[in-house]
Symmetry: C2
Subunit: 543 residues, 2 copies
């Protein structure tokens, strides 16, 4: 099992490594310096002494065992932040914005409930911590005015509790890593089908708490569609919402826990829908004359109920840069020559994929491709799909290497109705480019549609620029603010699958209204009257 | 536009009329008396004088206009109850359990909000009233200890506000009837695809407030899956949750309004997903050797993602009675002979259907039928499907005629995982049969699977027995209690699509826990601090 490094993503393998050609290309595009910027040593990270009262520490040890409470330097620093760009800037510089006073590792629902009870009594904040991969500050250790703050690391609360092969459901503990679950299910001929970029590290509870979406979610559904039942421990209540295929018994309370980002309590157990493991998977490339044409094709396929399970469409800039970053490889030369020949040289590349048994993949592929072709798509065969598949989790590894070279690399995402998707694409891209240009750091702004729905689609932006030395965080904040304002201004959602955390909290009110925030606040007061749960996140009432 | 009669369903046409053969059959099975029991005349209904204070009435008239406040006998009695069996027993006897002190008809979101503000100030309870078709007491006019109670009839808040043909969404006012909407959409080449049994009368707001499911929901999805955004007016807040294809921006607050049954506020506007109008529809019959075999076939089809859009499977008893009720028709004789020949004489009949364009219907039909056949199904061709389709909304019309003849006819429903579906079927059927037998009124208990999901399915029970004269309500309550206890005892949901209302409120706690009720109570206190909204429903805190 790979582990995240305290200052970044995990150790890259060969295929997660940025090639020299790609670096040369970026240098030319962005005007990079020739320096290398290594992270500081662990012992050089600024770390305040733990504020956890020894008597509280002793009480916690009684609940989770002595080895279940950790306050060594590595444990505290490794739980000091998620893995957003500003997190990495701070961690690498050794100037973290705070660290948990201790890390607590419960191994059962009951231990979680007991820890929350103890922390309520002792006025200690609790930050639920699954994979720790939040890119929006979701696991930032904020004390919220309380005496101390704990990271509640759920890795010991892992494993499958029960499988129902008839109903195709799995009861899984909240801290189970999605990759571990997928692997355990595969051994039983089953699959969850959830593949976010953080796949190797993220936990099922984290996916539920953040409304995660994965690379095959167009086919398998978003994580919330997989959650049939859940068990949750809140400071003032315990929930056991049973798995139901469907119900009209009042509002769906699962939907209050899903996306609650740890501010209500901890999701300790999930009843998840699983599916027969696909025996076949086919990924391939489809080229369009442009992003607009590709969006129309994706829309047509989705609205005709024949979208591929994986449906990604890069805009012209992302297509160009991806081809360029492939370096002088045969794939690139072949691809470029082919596209030029066919009049697709300035086009938009889609990656489409299907999972299932061979007949199912063949039938659905034929139906998808027929519609995509009808809308201008031209098939590029398997090679682009295989290239995508081989590097589908590579981006966060590459980001570490870009930071080594002084490159800001950040992503953000949204979703909007089809009728405004093009406008949102233009507004967000424009806001990022103009903000970064104005700071003297011209950018590459890449975008792709990552998930398609009947009424609209998501847009996933990646932006790269030379780091503004000494003002890395200000540079990032300016770009992030500009993009967020553009998203809100265009009436799109502030996040399609990264969640709210700290970074998007100021933008939740435009989306759900003051009444929506008040309603979430009322739920929080009911379940967490002392306000210990994940202060400063989502509704940010406990800053 | 048909209208409900004050004492029952609407005037039946020929195809909604119970034939003499069917009546003979029921007489033989249930031991019916030869009497006819007509409803009392409207002027003979017991009706207390309105308690609405004239000054409050004047304030309401200022908001909605003089013709928007009604307190004549017909208006009050027509809004005195939903259309459950006990409602009909009381209405027909003229002994209603209470009536609204007035009926108020707002024509805009703003008028709704102003009425709620006025009622909060004047301590008047408000019962949102769409089609008035609740079968669980959802529109019962309870005062909840307040000065008076109003029915807030939303029929004037109707119509399509906007259509987005690109994103396939429709913005629709909450009081719009589903049938009116479907007809307006059809004129634009679109369809909502929601066909509950109350289709002709039910409103879109009512469908949202009760988590409605319709006859084609296996294909088109439950009503909550169609709601992309909504506007709601609560006494203490107004909500405008925008239409999003998907979002990770915190808990899904739509899911708190959906299923809220009027206890939080009024759903005044909905952004609904629509689809291209199907140009073809095909319904047909499939016979199985028994209900268990049919359930396995439906499960296999659904889990292989090839379920029909309409997927109904009658158990052996429902199959037998449906054939018998068809009388001595050629269909029946043909059907019986054929089934006997094939060894399906004691079998279970499924109705399956597909909607779409001709190619789509053909392809999906082939995929569905291949799997159903593989699991023992034998196709009976279109005739049974056409017969079902022609009478798909007839049951509530027939119920009036059964009540005319002294027959109790009631339905209830649940959903459960596939692995326990057979046990739930047995437990609920057994509870109904033994309870009614013990009262000296032997019953017919019929059941069908009405909707299928990957993890389970719904079960829809119809039970018929001779009315216990003078103890009609006690007889019903005993059967209903027994069935509800059996459902809860088997771990199934207390309702798959009829909602909670008054009848199921005592059974919500076993399902969502005390913590779940407390959370709903906290939401209600936030949005409706004076407790004016639909007292006594769902969480029944305001009796």
């Amino acid at each position: 099992m790979p582990e995240l490094r305290w200052w970044g993503w995990a150790e890259p393998s060969a295929q997660d490594t940025l090639g020299p050609g790609a670096l040369d290309g970026l240098r030319a595009e962005l005007g990079l310096p020739e320096r290398r910027l290594a992270p500081v040593a662990l012992e050089d990270v600024e770390l305040e002494p733990s504020r956890l009262d020894p008597s509280v520490r002793a009480r916690l040890s009684q609940i989770v065992g002595a080895d279940g409470v950790r306050d060594d330097r590595l444990a505290r620093v490794a739980h000091a932040a998620g893995r957003g760009y500003p997190d990495l800037v701070r961690l690498r510089a050794g100037q973290i914005a705070g660290a948990p006073d201790a890390v607590v590792l419960p191994a059962s629902h009951e231990q979680v409930a007991a820890v929350l009870a103890a922390c309520t009594g002792d006025r200690v904040a609790v930050v639920p911590f699954g994979g720790g991969t939040s890119v929006v500050g979701g696991v930032a250790p904020r004390r919220g005015g309380l005496a101390a703050v704990l990271a509640l690391d759920l890795r010991r609360l892992a494993g499958i509790e029960a499988l129902d092969h008839v109903s195709l459901t799995a009861r899984v503990r909240g801290g189970t890593r999605v990759a571990e679950l997928e692997s355990a299910l595969a051994g039983r001929g089953l699959s969850l089908g959830h593949f976010p970029q953080s796949y190797e590290f993220v936990s099922v509870g984290g996916c539920a708490a953040t409304r995660s979406a994965g690379q095959a979610s167009t086919g398998f559904g978003r994580f919330e569609e997989m959650v049939l039942g859940l068990r949750g421990a809140a400071p003032a209540a315990e929930f056991a919402l049973p798995a139901r295929p469907a119900s009209a018994a009042g509002p769906d309370l699962r939907e209050l826990w899903i996306g609650s980002e740890g501010i209500l309590g901890v999701i300790t157990e999930l009843d998840l829908r699983v599916r027969p493991a696909p025996s076949a998977a086919r990924y391939e490339g489809v080229a369009f004359h442009g992003f607009a044409e590709g969006m129309e094709a994706f829309r047509a396929a989705r609205q005709a109920q024949v979208a591929p399970d994986v449906a990604r469409l890069s805009d012209e800039e992302e297509t160009r840069v991806n081809l360029a970053l492939a370096g002088e490889s045969p794939t690139r030369r072949l691809g470029e020559a082919y596209l030029r020949l066919r009049g697709y040289a300035e086009g938009a590349l889609a990656i489409v994929g299907w999972l299932g048994d061979a007949d199912d993949v063949a039938a659905r592929r034929a139906a998808s491709l027929a519609l995509l072709r009808e809308h201008g798509g031209v098939s590029l065969g398997r090679r682009p799909g295989q290239a995508w598949s081989a590097t589908r989790y590579a981006a966060p590894y590459l980001r570490d290497q870009l930071l080594d070279r002084g490159v800001m690399a950040e992503t953000l995402e949204t979703a909007a109705p089809w009728s405004s998707l093009g406008a949102v694409h233009g507004a967000v891209g424009g806001a990022l480019r103009s903000t970064l240009s104005a700071r003297g750091t011209p950018s590459l702004v890449l975008c792709h549609v990552s998930h398609v729905y009947e009424s609209g689609a998501s847009l996933y932006f990646t932006f790269l620029a030379r780091q503004q030395e000494g003002a890395e965080l200000e540079q990032w904040a300016a770009a992030k603010q500009a993009a967020s304002r553009a998203i809100v201004g265009a009436g799109a959602t502030i996040t399609h699958h990264h969640a709210v955390g700290v970074d998007h909290a100021p933008f939740l009110e435009p989306e759900v209204g003051r009444a929506g925030l008040a309603l979430l606040g009322a739920a929080k007061r009911e379940l967490d009257p002392a306000g210990i749960m994940n202060p400063g996140k989502l509704i940010a009432t406990a800053g």
